[in-house]
């Protein structure tokens, strides 16, 4: 009789533990979704500021074209093409702005200074949002690889969330260590 009681108790404890783990997973997935939305917003913001800079007539036409093209491509890109397009935008911004004369010329007028500041802020937020997102993804994945989670399919059938990998290094003249 006591054996049965022990068995029932063990079952109960296992049930509580599993339900708690499922809750943890749920929360992690929700965090991944929120982080992903935040990352999206920051990327869109960066491409918007880049576009504004390109169309501001403060840059020479060649630099403006380069940035406008990359910003447009980044905004259009979806799915798997997105990281590449965002990397291209980072590269274009670096190529265009990492010339000492360029920045000097650009930050002369007030509107130029404001745009550069905004771009710097947007770039930093992209770096942050991407790190927070990938941190969330890594945490979710770590839990999903646990044996009891895998065998009992606590994570459901959805594929594990992917990290977002792209080159988000800002132009050196706007960089601050993060």
């Amino acid at each position: 009789m006591t054996d049965v009681l022990w068995f029932v108790l063990a079952l109960l404890l296992a049930g509580v533990y599993l339900s708690w783990t499922a809750g943890r997973l749920d929360r992690l997935h929700a965090r991944v979704d929120a982080a992903r939305a935040a990352l999206d917003a920051q990327l869109v913001r960066r491409s918007a500021v880049s576009m504004e800079l390109a169309t501001s007539a403060l840059l020479d036409p060649a630099s403006a074209l380069l940035i406008a093209d990359a910003a447009h491509a980044a905004r259009q890109a979806e799915g798997e093409a997105r990281p590449q397009a965002e990397s291209d935008l980072s590269r274009a911004l670096r190529a265009a702005l990492d010339q000492p004369e360029q920045l000097e010329e650009l930050t002369g007028p007030v509107e130029g200074r404001q745009l550069v500041e905004e771009l710097e802020g947007a770039g930093r937020r992209v770096v942050m949002a991407r790190r927070f997102h990938n941190d969330a993804v890594r945490a979710a994945r770590a839990l999903r690889t646990k044996r009891h989670v895998r065998y009992l399919r606590l994570a459901g059938h959805a594929p594990p969330p992917p990290t977002f990998e792209c080159d988000d290094a800002p132009p050196e003249c706007l960089a601050r260590e993060l």
């Binding site: 929360r27 992690l28 965090r31 935040a38 770096v127 942050m128 949002a129 927070f132």
Partner: protein, 394 residues
């Protein structure tokens, strides 16, 4: 934005984390945000700032190799829960959530956008490895993690993985620039005079105080007016007895000083000397001396080299080399023009360490994690869980 800050250590005890939370809170208020700080504090104390909420009385417990003044237990937990529930915060920012105190409790009983800042840097330890297992589920709630220094960041990555962002401590520039020198200091640098400053544990070899006294020994004969002002904890008698009497006669020991006295002290010297031989992660004291307008002479360890930008805004000398230090000091004391140049360069550099700048970076983190979120709420799940395993009472 409504921000809830949680400090794990007793508010009335001076300490790095407490100072960080206070300066951050005040910088956030200055930027126009609403701030409530939850910390262990004695509610009867008269000088508590209006933004402070007490999380209970602190008790002393051994933790991580020293004694920490922290608060915990069921009563504290219900207070934390109430503070979270009634706070209406857009973002919750906990400091040192791996310390057994208010931060860990706040993390336990809240959901929503939560940011954590990690200050500690400890090499891989068994204790931290044990904490890992317990802390992991709670740490999964964090939307963003911040480390205050590169070593703190490395500690975090080693123990918990991931990729935290680095936002260094700020310096309250204005406070240092406003401070007045102590009466009678620093005196004149002409005719063999000049005042040097040193701050820190002078009996800890890593701080390099002996290198400084060795350099002084070479200088005292030629410089009858040379003085050294020393502040920091340690056995003063023993330290003075261990050096030549000619050097000891030139030293004024202030002992352990308050934050305000430190500001004064840094304004009271012609040169600040940092002869450390290692173990520094950032060198906040250098930025403070620079904010006070005092040129810095420092050993060329990595951390100092970075802060002084390879010697453009302060003089560097080879680590442990007393002869080189003596030469550098003599040159600078005789060269007011060079000191003025260093002062100017330093002022330019420290602007970026100012708290207003650092707080803006922290706000950028808040904005990133709150985008689209509904704010901080009470985590009722953990309450149910606590009841279930018989910890209830909250």
């Amino acid at each position: 934005m409504r921000v809830g800050l949680v400090c794990p250590y007793a508010w009335e005890v001076p300490g790095g984390v407490q100072a960080h939370v206070r300066d951050l809170a005040e910088a956030l208020l200055a930027l126009g945000h609403e701030v409530s700080v939850l910390a262990p504090a004695d509610e009867d104390a008269v000088d508590l700032p209006p933004y402070l909420a007490s999380g209970g009385r602190a008790v002393s417990v051994p933790f991580n190799g020293s004694v920490a003044r922290v608060a915990f237990g069921p009563v504290t937990r219900s207070r934390v829960r109430r503070w979270v529930r009634d706070g209406g915060f857009d973002v919750l920012h906990v400091h040192e959530p791996a310390v057994p105190s208010l931060s860990a409790l706040a993390l336990f009983c809240a959901t929503g956008p939560i940011v954590a800042t990690f200050h500690m840097s400890t090499p891989r330890s068994r204790a931290m490895a044990a904490v890992h297992g317990i802390a992991q589920p709670a740490l999964e709630k964090l939307s963003a993690r911040i480390a205050v220094s590169e070593p703190a960041r490395q500690t975090l990555v080693e123990h918990f993985g991931g990729d935290p962002v680095l936002i260094p401590n700020g310096v309250a520039l204005a406070r240092f620039a406003r401070a007045r020198p102590m009466p009678g200091w620093p005196g004149s640098t002409t005719k063999g005079g000049g005042t040097l400053g040193f701050l820190g544990r002078f009996d800890e070899p890593r701080k390099g105080f002996e290198i400084l006294t060795a350099a002084m020994e070479q200088l005292v004969a030629d410089r009858p007016g040379l003085r050294l002002l020393v502040a920091g904890p340690g056995d003063i008698e023993a330290a003075l007895a261990a050096m030549p009497a000619a050097v000891a006669a030139r030293i004024t020991m202030l002992g352990l000083i308050s934050e305000a006295e430190k500001e004064q002290m840094l304004r009271s010297v012609d040169l600040y000397v940092a002869p450390n031989t290692g173990g520094e992660s950032f060198g906040i004291i250098l930025t403070e001396a620079m904010s006070a307008g005092t040129p810095v002479v420092a050993s060329d360890i990595d951390a100092f080299r970075r802060v002084l930008e390879d010697g453009t805004c302060g003089a560097l000398f080879p680590v442990g080399d007393a002869d080189a230090l003596a030469l550098t000091l003599a040159d600078l004391l005789d060269d007011p023009a060079r000191r003025a140049v260093l002062r100017g360069e330093a002022a330019r550099t420290v602007a970026r360490y100012d708290w207003s700048q650092v707080a803006a970076d922290v706000v950028a983190v808040y904005e990133t994690v709150t985008a689209g979120a509904t704010g901080v709420a009470e985590d009722t799940r953990t309450q149910r869980l606590a009841r279930l395993v018989g910890l209830a009472g909250a």
